[in-house]
């Protein structure tokens, strides 16, 4: 009963937010003269097809990794806006290395992953080091590092022999040999392959939960986020924690490019999809940094992205989905704050009730 109540409480906020977002979007749709019911029907109908579900899973895998990377920073009040630059730089380097590896898969794939992690973590580590040693806000430094990363990538692909002409007028890293690619599985009733990397993403989610809730390190991290002063008094070295949190956030960011790289494109070109770092911020907010919440948020986001492709066909601008996504994030932030405040009040009332039986019930 108590557990059921708890579950109900934790679902209340996201459902409330989603409902609110749909109401706002409906109003906008009506204002533009669209048929609301038709739009949602079309999206659901297209989004629930087998091939769409496969696409959603693939997209959600990428989003999930990005959001977990952001969430680790959030847990310590660090705002890693640089996931974008970190995964692009890590992905490019990993692709360049993987393209030249002639090893069997069980060696090549781990090496590729390791390269991506190390490069991205090092890139995030620059921001961590600047913050710890010079007090530079990680918000500023990670934004700047995003631009620098893009510059380095363009230069490397266009001007050095890391980049090769892989198609007419397209330069990219050398194609990863079949042995170095990561196999996936075909989604039932479709001809679309789901990335094998989805299992690594699930593993990362479990690891994230375990790290935060079952290790001393995770406790120190959360304590630093909840109350820096109490954490310091309890023996946490705040500078070390900041650096470690940035490094771990960056390491996970390094994985973001890999589902696509190892699963479908097999080469890094200048057209490699960008912007996942920012989507990750929205999804981490949506999922309240909770591993399951983030999974839910990533799936929802991917569903909206995929199903929006149908809208152009029925004459509704697909940007309406972008509005829906934005409103959902805003609504979630508001809904969670409302639910949180109610929870605090309810707890104080419970404590009051428990003490009211007592003679000294006055606790205010």
């Amino acid at each position: 009963m108590n557990h059921l109540k708890k579950l109900g409480n934790s679902l209340l906020a996201p459902l409330l937010a989603l409902f609110l977002a749909m109401v706002v979007t409906s109003i906008i749709l009506v204002a533009f003269g669209s048929n609301v019911v038709m739009v949602f029907q079309q999206m659901w109908g297209y989004g629930s097809k087998a091939s769409s579900i496969a696409l959603i899973l693939n997209l959600a895998t990428t989003y999930y990794l990005s959001a977990v990377a952001v969430a680790i920073g959030f847990k310590m009040n660090l705002f890693n806006i640089g996931v974008n630059g970190q995964y692009l730089l890590g992905g490019m380097t990993a692709a360049a290395v993987a393209g030249r590896l002639t090893l069997p898969g069980y060696l090549a794939i781990p090496i590729t992953i390791l390269v991506a992690i190390v490069v991205a973590a090092a890139w995030a580590g620059i921001a961590g080091w600047l913050k710890v040693s010079r007090g530079v806000s990680e918000v500023i430094s990670t934004i700047m590092l995003n631009f620098i990363a893009l510059g380095i990538i363009s230069y490397t692909i266009v001007r050095t022999n890391v980049g090769e002409e892989i198609a007419v007028n397209v330069r990219g890293t050398r194609k990863i040999p079949t042995s170095g690619q990561m196999p996936g599985f075909t989604f039932p009733n479709s001809n679309i392959e789901v990335y094998g990397f989805i299992f690594i993403a699930i593993f990362i989610g479990i690891g994230y939960w375990f790290l935060l809730n079952r290790t001393r390190f995770g406790y120190d991290l959360r304590a630093s986020g909840m109350s820096p002063s109490a954490a310091v008094a309890s023996g946490v070295d705040s500078k070390k924690m900041t650096l470690y949190a940035m490094l771990i956030s960056g390491a996970i960011a390094g994985l973001v490019a890999l589902p696509d790289l190892l699963g479908s494109s097999h080469t890094y070109t200048l057209n490699f999809p960008t912007g996942f770092g920012f989507t990750g911020i929205a999804i981490a907010l949506l999922g309240r940094n909770n591993p399951l919440g983030i999974a839910f948020g990533a799936l929802l986001w991917a569903f909206l992205d995929v199903s929006s492709q149908q809208l152009d066909l029925v004459g509704v601008p697909r940007e309406i989905v972008t509005i829906l996504q934005g409103v959902t994030v805003l609504a979630v932030v508001i809904a969670y704050e409302i639910v949180r405040r109610n929870k605090v009040k309810a707890q104080q009332r419970d404590v009051g009730l428990a003490l009211a039986d007592n003679k000294e019930g006055l606790v205010l």
């Binding site: 079952r214 304590a223 109350s227 008094a233 309890s234 023996g235 707890q347």
Partner: protein, 506 residues
């Protein structure tokens, strides 16, 4: 004073929260142009009453009469309209605004679309002169000390036209000299016909300033005293507040041993301006000894605690159980038996948004029963949290509620219980019974005495002189970062100690 000149009257006020009655049958009559003190223990219902007066909460029953007219206060803006203003204990000022900008914030005089700063300045200068509340109008608030900030808050309220001023624990943040300045300002305000409601639990100060005193206990008003007509002592007031004879801290037998637990030599701590806030301090604490540090807050106590914990840079030597620990990290000190009851429990002692059992881990997150290797041991921590809840009488329905749900006294009992766990060798106790009720205070004293008898070395910092004298085996007086004298608690009186603390004995 007669009823007809009453500025504010409350009759039969009740305020219930689910499960708790915060105010029951509160009656209060504040004479116009008087200084009226409301005293009571933490949890006596002062805060709720204050919120009702300022329109932040609506009473369930009862009437509020302002200047003879029955009225309803639905929000602070209603209160402001009726000329009731409030100065909060924690100042609400924008640091990077000037004093002038802060005062007019939210009530800016306009000149078309632009600010009419000249008009504001003229009006404020007139106010400041009239009430002798001088503040530097053009300085940034971030440059100013607490005394100035408080004057700014008072001016801000007056600027909005307040005739009744509510001050919530105004002296809590002030040093004695600033308290004197505040009191003289309050007397000037009174002379100009302003009514002042003064909420406090510092009885000496209340007796020094108040014309009328209302005592609250357990949610209700139990006595109205007029000290000008019937003299009353601080102790009599205190007994009215707690409703019984006061318990006294008292360590009967001497348990001090020869074994030195902590030896501090020439400890010096500099603040960010390079000033030595702790200056060449040396002391020793033996096993089974309680060393008390007396001193007005802000004379270096917090910095000594930080230095012993290893969270600030220091010079000098700190030896703990014959080992030089000056270079040890905070964590290493904690793991080796240094426990701390911090002075500000919500900032340094608790994770407010975490459940009690996670708070049980704080500061001991690397050792049993909270951890096994690099992993946490939630089951062990939970079990031990229940033990603390039982042994230290923490009033809570469970250990999964967040720390923020507990009252201050129960939070403090949880902290004391936690810090006494794992057989510490040295306990640094800053204001261990601050803000807790009388029953819990006696229990905490008993725990300290038991631990002392078992060989714990305690550094006790307290603003409660009875507590210091009653518990300590010896007392050092700290003034401007230096030990000025050492006194024997068996012979010293609070009066003598008090004057040593202010440097009067020099």
């Amino acid at each position: 004073m007669t009823e007809s000149t009453s500025a504010l009257t409350l009759t039969g006020i009740w305020k219930r929260f689910p499960g708790v009655i915060a105010n029951s049958n509160v009656n209060l009559s504040v004479g116009a142009g008087s200084i009226h003190a409301i005293v009571g223990e933490n949890g006596a219902g002062k805060s709720t009453l204050m919120k009702i007066l300022y329109g932040m909460q609506k009473p369930d029953e009862g009437t509020i009469t302002v200047a003879g007219i029955p009225t309803q206060l639905n929000s602070p803006s209603d209160a402001i309209e009726l000329g009731i203003g409030m100065v909060h204990q924690h100042f609400m000022l924008a640091e990077n605004f000037t004093v002038l900008e802060n005062i007019i914030l939210g009530n800016e005089p306009k000149h078309g679309v632009s600010l009419d700063l000249m008009a504001a300045r003229n009006r404020l200068s007139a106010l400041a002169t009239k009430y002798s509340l001088q503040v530097p109008f053009d300085e940034y608030v971030s440059e100013l000390g607490v005394g100035d900030r408080q004057r700014i808050e008072i001016l801000k309220v007056l600027y909005r036209g307040a005739r009744i001023l509510i001050l919530d624990e105004p002296t809590a943040v002030l040093v004695p000299q600033e308290v004197d300045e505040l009191f003289s300002a309050l007397r000037d305000l009174k002379a100009e016909g302003i009514t002042i409601i003064f909420i406090s639990h510092k009885l000496d100060e209340v007796l020094a300033i108040a014309d009328e005193i209302t005592v609250m206990r357990a949610g209700t008003t139990v006595a109205a005293v007029n000290p000008k007509q019937e003299p009353v002592t601080a102790r009599e007031l205190a007994e009215l507040m707690v409703g019984s004879e006061l318990p006294t801290p008292d360590t009967s037998e001497n348990t001090v041993t020869d074994k030195v637990v902590l030896s501090v030599t020439a400890l010096t701590v500099a603040n960010s301006d390079g000033k030595n806030v702790v200056d060449n301090v040396s002391f020793k604490i033996h096993s089974g000894e309680i060393l008390g540090i007396a001193g007005i807050e802000g004379n270096g106590q917090a910095e000594i605690v930080d230095a012993l914990l290893g969270v600030v840079a220091t010079s000098g030597a700190i030896e703990f159980l014959d080992t030089d620990i000056t270079s040890w990290t905070t964590r290493k000190r904690r793991e080796n038996g240094v426990a701390v009851i911090p002075e500000d429990r919500t900032r340094q002692g608790l994770l407010l948004e975490a459940p009690l059992w996670e708070n049980r881990m704080l500061g001991q997150q690397t050792v049993a029963p909270n951890a096994r290797g690099v992993l946490l041991d939630p089951a062990g921590a939970k079990k031990d949290t229940w033990r603390i809840v039982r042994e230290f009488d923490v009033r809570t329905p469970g250990i999964d509620v967040h720390a923020s749900a507990l009252s201050g006294g129960n939070q403090q009992k949880l902290i004391v219980g936690r810090e006494m766990s794992g057989s510490p060798k040295l306990l640094i106790a800053s204001h261990p019974t601050r803000g807790v009720d009388v029953g819990a205070q006696a229990a905490i004293w008993e725990h300290l005495r038991t631990a002392r008898a078992a060989g714990l070395a305690v550094l006790l910092i307290s603003a409660d002189l009875d507590e210091l004298i009653g518990l300590s085996d010896s007392i050092a007086v700290l003034l401007r970062g230096k030990f000025v004298t050492t006194v024997d608690p068996h012979t010293v009186t609070p009066a003598v100690l008090g004057s040593a603390m202010t440097g009067a004995g020099e």
